[in-house]
Structure formats: C-alpha cells, structure tokens
C-alpha cells in the first residue's frame, strides 16, 4: 500500500549558480494505491506525472507532505534500502538501464549487489527471465536485443529484486507497436498472477483501458480518477488536459452522437465490433 498525502514538490531553477526561481511540479496530491492494483497515470508533457513517479521509490523527496510505502516514510533515510527493494522502477529509454554483458548477468546485477548466495541468484534469474518470456535470450548480449526485449529485461531485473511494486515511466514510448503490446501483456500477467502492484505512467491512452483505475494529472494536480469506464465517459475533460482519446472511444462518441445505440463508452475494438454487428443484424 502506498499512501500519498498532500504532496508538494518544488524544483529549483538555477541560473549561473544563482538560485533563480522555484517551479511547482506537484501541487498538493493525495492518493492511496492498494497492493495488487493496476493503476495508470495519464497526463500531458509537464503535468507532473514523472515527478510523481520518482517520489514512489524516493528518487525525489517531497518538499511538503508525505509518502509512505507499506508504512515506511520515504523521507527517512533509514527506510531507503527497504523502499528501493519494494519498489522497482523502469524508465523510458531501455538503453539507459541495461548494464550486463548478457541478459542473465544484467538480471543478476541487483542480487549480486546484495551479496545473495550464488545458487539462489541463479535460480531466481532463470525464473524471472522466464516470467518475462526471454528464456531464449539468456546468454544474448543486450546490444542484440530490440527495444521491447530490453524493456522486458529491465522488468526482469526489478522482479529479481523481489519488488512488490513496479513503477514504469513511459516504458513503451520508444517502442514499436508489437513490442508495446508485449510489455503491456507482461505487466498484466505480473499483476494477475503474482499480485504485483503496477503503476504505469504513460500518454499512450490505449494502454490504460484495461487498468483497474486511472488517475488524470494536469498542472501538478489530480484532476480526475476512476475506472476506465468512468474516466472515458468524460471526454471533454480529457480533451481539456490534452490527453489523447483512444480511436475506438472517439469513434464511439461520434457514432452515438449520430444516433447509433452504442454503450457509453465503448472501451475496445472487440466490444465495438460486437455492438455494431448487433445493430446491423437488427436493421
């Protein structure tokens, strides 16, 4: 469980070593994230979503307010190791987070750093590589992997560390469509099978329609939250905060306005195909 209370974060803008000004990146956020939840955070560039992500494993500390991860306050230094163990992070650019000379070594890095016994490391690494579907590439050099494969290795690394919570900051924005859906599938599997908490930060809206809950951010504030059905029923809000509306949801709105008796919203392509076929057959 993550508990965020009245979080405020101010960045200092430095100019020629003279402090120039403060910029508020997060402006009073309170949010609880339950263990096992699949939470998506949506917002445009500059909405504060990445800044929020970096608070979840204490890469950034609050200027005001508190964040607790399983009752551990992130601002207390003695909690740091435990919090970093609990919360794994995956960033946008896969090339910046792979360090091993092959996939196994990379996934083992965190465990070796913690001086774990080597037979445990070996067993754990094999398991985690298998979980993300990369067993065929155990001995492969990361330079031979595609962007999506590298992101899966980064996820395996976080798994090996026994993270219970995984925070992903735009993990798919540099990937091609097939790799994108591979990553999203792995995340849903980890969530369903391992009960892992997934916090997915993205501006690819079609990746969030299967989340448990969506949080909308704008100007450092939470401006909306709810289930995908609730959030995608208010398209005006999404447009106002410059969040892209998935094609099928947009099409559904337009067709409803043209008199088609469709559900509000129609969340995905299968549902849309079924409803339209139904309408067609009735005539």
């Amino acid at each position: 469980m993550i508990r965020i209370e009245n979080l405020i974060h101010r960045y200092t803008i430095w100019n020629d070593q003279k402090e120039q000004s403060k910029k508020i990146a997060i402006d009073g956020i309170s949010l609880n994230i339950k263990q096992g939840e699949f939470l998506a955070i949506l917002g445009s560039n500059g909405s504060g979503k990445s800044t929020l992500a970096k608070h979840l494993n204490a890469l950034l500390l609050p200027s005001e307010g508190t964040i607790e991860v399983d009752d551990l306050d992130t601002s207390k230094e003695e909690n740091l190791t435990e919090i970093r163990n609990k919360v794994g992070m995956v960033f946008q650019n896969p090339d910046n987070q792979i360090i091993g000379t092959n996939v196994e070594e990379d996934v083992a890095f965190g465990l070796e750093n913690k001086n774990m016994p080597s037979d445990y490391i070996q067993k754990r690494v094999v398991e985690c590589i298998d979980t993300v579907g990369m067993s065929d590439f155990s001995k492969t050099s990361p330079t031979r992997l595609s962007g999506g494969q590298k992101q899966r290795v980064a996820i395996a690394g976080a798994l090996a560390d026994d993270s219970q919570i995984m925070v992903l900051d735009e993990p798919t924005s540099m990937l091609d469509p097939k790799s994108r859906s591979e990553i999203i599938d792995v995340l849903h599997r980890l969530n369903a099978e391992n009960g892992m908490t997934i916090i997915l930060i993205t501006h690819n809206t079609d990746e969030v329609v299967a989340a448990d809950r969506i949080v909308l951010m704008n100007g450092g504030k939470i401006v909306g939250k709810g289930s995908p059905t609730e959030v995608f029923a208010d398209l005006e809000l999404l447009r106002k905060i410059h969040v892209e509306i998935p094609q099928i949801i947009e099409l559904g709105e337009r067709l409803r306005n043209a008199g088609f008796p469709l559900s509000d919203p129609v969340l995905n392509e299968q549902q849309m195909a079924e409803e339209l076929t139904g309408i067609w057959k009735v005539k």
Binding site: N45, H203, H242, L276
Partner: protein, 284 residues
C-alpha cells in the same frame, strides 16, 4: 528530386560483412509526405542517413535532380543543402545561448552573412510558430514541443527541398504531437517541399502521410498509399507492425459480413463510412 537505385549498405564486422540495407530503391518528389515504418533494427535510421550523405552506400546509386551523388565531381555540399535531416530528440542538439543564434548557426555554416542569417532565422522561427519574445530566450527554457519546433526551424533556415525526420513525435504528448505534424503539413503546402518521417506510430502515419514505406530487415518491402498498405495484413504482419484500432475494427466488420466498401485508416473515415452505410440500410 532524390532517387536511390539498388542501395546496399554493409558494416564490416570482424572481417565478416553484415548487410544493413539490401537493394533499396526509392524516389522522393516535391509534395510527398512519406512515412517510413518498421520495427527497431529494421534499418530505418541507416536508410535515411543516406539521404543527405551522412552514410555512403556500399553499392548502388543516389541521384539528386538527375546528378549522381556518388560521382567524384559531385559536391556533397549540394546534397546537404537540399536535404535537411532532423534527428530523434533534436532538442538535445540545441547548444547556443539564444534561440535565434541556434537557428542562425546552420545558414551561417553554409556561408551566409550574419545579417542575412538573422533575417532568415526570424522568418523560419515565425513559420514554425515561435513567438518573437522567445527569440532571445535560452533554448533550455522552452517546452519540449517548442524546442523541437526550433530544431526544425534550424533545418528550414538552410532552405532544403526535402526534410527528413527521425521519429518527430517521440516523447511528445498528443496535443504537442499534432502541432508538430500540422507544421509538417504546412511545410509541404506552403514551402513546396517533401517531408519524409520515420515513425513507429501507425496512427500518425495513417493521419498524416500519403505514402507508407515499410522496412523489414533492411529491405523496403512495400511502397504504397496508406489505404493499400494497411489493407495488406500479410505485409503488416511480416513487418512486425500493427494497424490502427479503427482499421482492425473495419476489417472485423467486413469479415462479419457488413458490406463496408473498404477498410478505414482514420477515425474520420471510419465515422463517415459507418454512418453512410448504416443510414442507407435504415432507409430501406
């Protein structure tokens, strides 16, 4: 304008040559808006680096206005001037203290005098939609979308005939992205140039490009209109890509026996063809 014939490119790796591009032929003409798609590692970036001579083909020919670029007598400077390349995350390459100086850098490098370069830079900054009061700002103070527009202005200031962009929308949110693509549309319409962009976003390609070039392991496996390319399941699948959701929807509906005339590649088009068809059906 720019034409490649049987371009091959290979790296030498420990004495073994590895082919990155295989017999690629293409042509780019004024008014073209071309989207190049393909998975990571399919050779897209290597391919476009040939357009302005950053890479030289191992074999094959490249023609600029019917002149062979690989002839000894050809001045590569000419190619660099006519074909402007915008890399991924071009904002990381802004390095001057002010926005205007950054845009002036290119034309001055081509030998333009400072006075003249300033006039050109002002014109191009206005064209890409940067407010005059930002001309003397530090580029680092601009938003992501503004920085990218400045980088594009820097290329336009060299008056190229073709602008080539590697993932122009990477990392931008939806709103900023549509502004960049609208700018590219204006570049074609007003400046009578050609725009070529590499993308992994099929929706962007469907919304903006009029031609799709599909790369797979260094081979250009298809050069067709968006409509034709996206209806070829076999080619899309082979390339490891995925069509937009509305394209999938219209395909599924056609398979289910609903008599749509063709697949849709954009929301606008899907809305229109579904409304028309269902209205007609109700009329009977």
């Amino acid at each position: 304008m720019l034409k490649g014939v049987n371009i091959n490119f290979s790296y030498d790796k420990k004495g073994v040559s590895e082919n990155i591009l295989n017999d690629v032929s293409f042509e780019i003409n004024t008014g073209d808006f071309i989207g190049i798609i393909g998975t990571s590692g399919s050779g897209k970036t290597t391919f476009i680096k040939h357009f302005n001579g950053l890479l030289r083909a191992s074999s094959g020919e490249l023609y600029l206005n019917d002149q062979n670029v690989y002839d000894k007598s050809f001045d590569l400077f000419q190619l660099r001037k006519e074909v402007g390349l915008v890399f991924q995350y071009p904002e990381n390459q802004l390095f001057k203290k002010t926005v205007i100086e950054d845009v002036m850098f290119g034309p001055m490098n081509l030998g333009m005098l400072e006075e003249e370069a300033r006039i050109v830079a002002e014109r191009e900054l206005k064209f890409v939609g940067i407010d005059e009061d930002l001309f003397s700002a530090n580029p680092m103070e601009l938003s992501g979308g503004q920085k990218r527009s400045v980088a594009i202005a820097g290329v336009l200031a060299m008056s190229p005939k073709i602008i080539v962009l590697d993932e122009p929308a990477a990392g931008l949110d939806f709103y900023t992205k549509s502004r960049i693509f609208d700018l590219l549309k204006r570049i074609i319409a007003i400046k009578k140039m050609a725009v070529v962009f590499v993308s992994h976003n099929m929706e962007d390609v469907a919304n903006y490009a009029n031609q799709v070039w599909i790369m797979k392991q260094g081979t250009l496996i298809s050069k067709e209109s968006v409509q034709t390319s996206f209806s070829r399941d076999d080619i899309i699948d082979l390339a490891g890509m995925d069509v937009p959701e509305v394209t999938k929807l219209t395909k599924d509906l056609i398979d289910a026996g609903i008599p749509l005339k063709s697949i849709s590649t954009t929301v606008d088009n899907a809305e229109k063809s579904l409304s028309d068809l269902f209205k007609k059906n109700r009329g009977h």
